[in-house]
Amino acid sequence: MSLQPNPTPEPNPALPDSHDLQQTKARKLWVDALIRIVKSKTSLIGLCIILVLVLTAIFAPVIATHSHTAQDIINRYQPPSAEHWLGTDELGRDIFSRIVYGTRISIQIGVIAVGIAMIIGVVLGSVAGYFGRWIDQIIMRIIDIMMAFPSILLAIALVAVLGPSLTNAMIAVGIVGIPQFARIVRSAVLSIKETEYIEASKAIGAKHARVLFQHVLPNCAAPIIVQATLSIGTAILDAAGLSFLGLGAQPPTPEWGAMLTDGRAAIQNAPWVVAFPGLAIFLVVLGFNLFGDGLRDALDPRLKE
Amino acid sequence: MHTESPILQVENLHTHFITKAGIVKAVDGVDFDIKPGETLGIVGESGSGKSMTAMSIMGLIPSPPGKIVEGEIRFKGENLLTKTKKQMRNIRGKEISMVFQDPMTSLNPVFTIEKQLIETILAHESFSKNQARSRALELLHLVGIPDPKKRLKNYPHEFSGGMRQRVMIAIALACNPSVLIADEPTTALDVTIQAQILELFKKMQNELNMAIIMITHDLGVVAEVCDRVMVMYAGKPVEYTETNHLFDQGKHPYTLGLMNSIPTINKQKKKLEAIDGVPPDLRSLPKGCSFAPRCKHVMEACLHIDPTLTEVNDHHFVRCLLYEETNSEKVVSP
């Protein structure tokens, strides 16, 4: 018996080699998802908010009407006006410009913190789920411990250890987010591990690494991506919370949470100093949540059929 | 044969699903009737609209997106489609009840068997709780569950598949319905258990003289329990006749294809005659006969003309141009 290539079917030279095709086709799955997202109104709004955010971050110097650090102490706490669209803060800085520059910080926080949480969480969760047994036991006990530790307090303690700074706040928020990812990935891996196509890949002699990285993890991508998107919002919120407690960004960084804290003393006299950064946080988090929700629906396998 | 008048008549039923991707014509012109004590089989491949026919009768089409766009369902002479929600609720479970395919998921996992039995009884009969309880016991006994008293207190997960299906049947029989619709009641079960359940159906029908609509895709089951059969393809009945007729002188190419494509234990081993291709997408049915793309006897006309259900023999209806012509010739020639 043999299964040697049959000479009859003429090889089609027009076909690009398979590698190329994989690229274009793999993208197509995502394009499908994207189309679905764009079709849903809410996630489209989310996507728009995120896009605006990203553009704002990139073009901050163009968009900002003032320098975000320039002070005008005499003219502090100016209400919104034509000159200062959102008013000025406790040092007479232009709040609009600070919020505009703040988008950079927020994106940074979101991406880095979630990056940390995701990378570590995915590694821990997939190893635990895939290999099971004692490895799983150990990892999951560690995760249990992290979960039992009140997360904000954990973050506070971490920042206290590392010293207050934006970077450290991001690290702390990232670490606190690990268990979520680990658990989601683990349960996704556990269910995917049992599917027949995983068994099939084992049956064709694939090694663990191949099974895990080629088959298991790509199929966990949907929950991971959804979780990541939603986590970005949470991370921005958490970091703002840390800043609010004075444990985050250092002055004069225009981090929104810090702006809120700094303006807090003037809530009676100059509520705009508090209102606008808070609104900015809210909008961005909302954007990521809307988008994440849309993604969840778009990537939901049940809706695919 | 059954001489009484039909208890349930379905006429020209069209149930469509209006989805973003297009209109799914799940049921597209179904006609049949059934008399008390009779068993009507509905066979067809997955997606051919069997369940939706049943759900239409029950008034349980999920809406939106589903909608009965045309037709009449007459139960005891009254059109069910004009009934109010409340009236329909009083008919469901009491006059017409239904047994579903998957006994594993059709019972609520968090309630005891007793509760699930009793609530049906209480919903339709003016029973006291105690009366309902003894009725429940009686029912479990009837469907052959050993030690029913103890079993009443159990939860569904403590039952095996076959037992659960018996419970489902007990629930369906709770108020002595006149029509019982069984939607693939044995598909999820093992053969030995299937035999038990089919046996039970026969027994129940003998005792209670119900009309049974047996939905299945297994011609074996049809041969075993049905008096008459309707074969469905892509939402439409393609052949409708007495069971014996169907097996002896089935006419529609699809019916024949089905019969030839199943291996049987007794027939000599020979190559199966598969039907090529796949069932059509109900959203965009081909013009003409839906079966044409897979039909061995396809003719030019099949691609343009959607045949109508034509009586080729006494009580033997076929939807196929092959027979329509002969038939119309017949009509014309004498």
């Binding site: 102490i73 406790e90 004069p252 009676q268 | -």
Partner: protein, 521 residues
């Protein structure tokens, strides 16, 4: 509207549930503050909030005058000191009892001083009387009851501020009976002789005191004082506005104007006896070790603008000493704001291109520095003008103390509130080389000038105030020239109160008994 939560409901009040004890006709003063007391044993604490409460419960041998740090008789009616200043004899009141009913006498005073000399926990004792690990008694060699109502102190060296020190609230005399009875738990069951009697302490919520009808001084006008902890300044002010508290400290500067505009409220300013400053670490290698650079920084910061952030509660400082204190050198001329001059000095020092530098600040406002974070940013921006690039590092208060003591900073904010109204308590503590040791408090500029040291040491043992004044004037000159600090401000910390609070005069040391205060109906 402004409803005091005292007994009699004032007409037009809409705070329906806020007063519940109308029937009894009691007057309750509700005092809002940012943090709870740590302990109610004043000898063991340093925080103002604890002292605030204990100042009501305890008396000291002598007390400060109402608005200055001059002393007046309290538990002691009269006193005398020997020529050499080493022996002090106090005549005590013979007619008073502690709140627990036990008698106050010379033995109780001895008991307290002996107690304080037993452990480093009694921090103010150690700190004011120079206790060391080996000798916990410090300069107090002996405390004896030389009569039923007479105590004699024998000192090992003369100490000019001794009497004023004894007036500090940490040296409140506690009932020996109560101390023994409660042992470890004494700190939450304080018993003194003061105008108010301790009633109840709900940690982080409130401390309730009731008036001491038997008080030997002026018996309090209010029947009860409740110290409520409301951590957030803004929320506390709202409570005041809504009438659920009568008096509050820790006002946000931003709210001062609001309070002044509110016809139901008043702002009462505490006389100033503090200083806030920017210390420059002279010890660290780098630009700040050079006098010229430090002077340049002094020139480069616009004090006027900076202080405008204090919203009217601060006056510019040019000396480490507050002007209200004797020994203040008013002849010194402040550096003034002159960016060009500053640049010139920098250039002279070889830093024409500027440099990078850290500025350590802290999160929680202090009475002498209501907006540390904002101030830091203002300075950051101003120093940009002379190409000095400031990185702000903000820590919580405790950490700030730790890291600045260790000299990790280049520049750091800090401030000081006088304890006993003696210049020594500022100059020696904050700028003497004795206190410039890493890891210990005080001189975080790590300013070490032998001449200054000699002057301060001399002033310590000199009993004649005139001579001491001379010494301090000289020291201030040198310090001004060396510029280890950029002195910022002396503040008059504002207290917001409802309009019907009368006869309340805050004391410069930071707390005062409430017996004179009254609530008008």
């Amino acid at each position: 509207n402004n409803t005091s939560s005292t007994g009699e409901e004032s007409e037009g009040s809409d705070g329906e549930d806020q007063t519940t004890e109308e029937a009894s006709g009691e007057k309750t003063l509700i005092f809002g503050r940012g943090a709870d007391s740590i302990q109610l044993d004043p000898s063991k604490v340093t925080d103002g909030e604890s002292i605030y409460v204990t100042n009501q419960i305890y008396d000291t041998l002598v007390r400060y005058q109402e608005e200055s740090t001059e002393v007046k008789p309290a538990l002691a009616t009269e006193w005398e000191t020997s020529e050499d200043g080493l022996t002090w004899t106090f005549q005590l009141r013979d007619d008073i009892k502690f709140h627990d009913g036990t008698d106050f006498n010379a033995e109780s005073v001895v008991f307290n001083f002996e107690r304080w000399a037993t452990s480093a926990e009694y921090i103010y004792y150690g700190y004011m009387f120079g206790a060391s690990e080996e000798d916990l008694g410090g300069i107090i060699e002996k405390v004896e009851a030389t009569g039923d109502y007479e105590v004699t102190f024998t000192l090992s060296e003369s100490n000019a501020p001794f009497l004023q020190t004894l007036a500090m609230p940490p040296f409140g005399i506690a009932s020996p009976d109560a101390v023994e009875k409660h042992g470890e738990d004494y700190f939450k069951n304080p018993v003194g002789t003061g105008p108010f009697v301790f009633e109840e302490w709900l940690p982080d919520e409130s401390i309730t005191l009731s008036k001491n009808e038997e008080y030997f001084g002026e018996v309090a006008n209010v029947d009860k004082v409740v110290f409520r902890t409301i951590p957030d300044n803004g929320a506390r002010f709202m409570e005041l506005q809504s009438g659920s508290i009568d008096l509050m400290t820790g006002l946000n500067p931003q709210d001062i104007q609001t309070a002044e505009d509110d016809q139901n409220l008043q702002i009462i300013r505490r006389p100033s006896m503090n200083v806030s400053y920017l210390a420059m670490n002279t010890d660290k290698e780098g630009p700040l070790s050079e006098k010229l650079v430090r002077q340049a920084i002094n020139l480069a910061i616009d004090k006027e603008r900076l202080i405008s952030l204090y919203e009217g509660i601060g006056k510019p400082a040019k000396n480490p000493l507050p002007p209200s204190l004797w020994g203040y050198n008013d002849d010194i001329e402040d550096y003034g704001y002159d960016v060009e001059e500053a640049k010139a000095l920098l250039a002279e020092a070889g830093y024409a291109d500027g440099f990078d530098i850290t500025l350590y600040t802290f999160a929680n406002p202090r009475p002498y520095m209501p907006q540390p974070k904002v101030s830091a940013q203002a300075i950051q921006e101003m120093l940009k003008e002379i190409n000095v690039n400031v990185e702000i590092i903000e820590n919580d208060w405790d950490t700030h103390l730790n890291v600045t003591e260790n000299g990790e900073h280049d520049m750091a904010f800090l401030g000081w509130t006088g304890d006993n109204g003696d210049p020594d308590n500022f100059l020696y503590v904050l700028l003497d080389k004795d206190n410039a040791k890493k890891g210990s408090a005080g001189n975080i500029a790590f300013y070490k000038n032998d001449e200054v040291h000699d002057l301060l040491k001399q002033a310590q043992s000199e009993m004649d105030q005139e001579k001491r004044t001379e010494l301090y004037l000289k020291a201030q000159e040198i310090i001004h020239e060396d510029a280890p600090w950029f002195p910022i401000a002396h503040t008059t910390p504002p207290i917001a109160a409802s309009k019907n609070i009368v006869n309340y005069s805050p004391h410069p040391t930071g707390s005062e008994p409430f017996n004179l205060l009254d609530i008008e109906q």
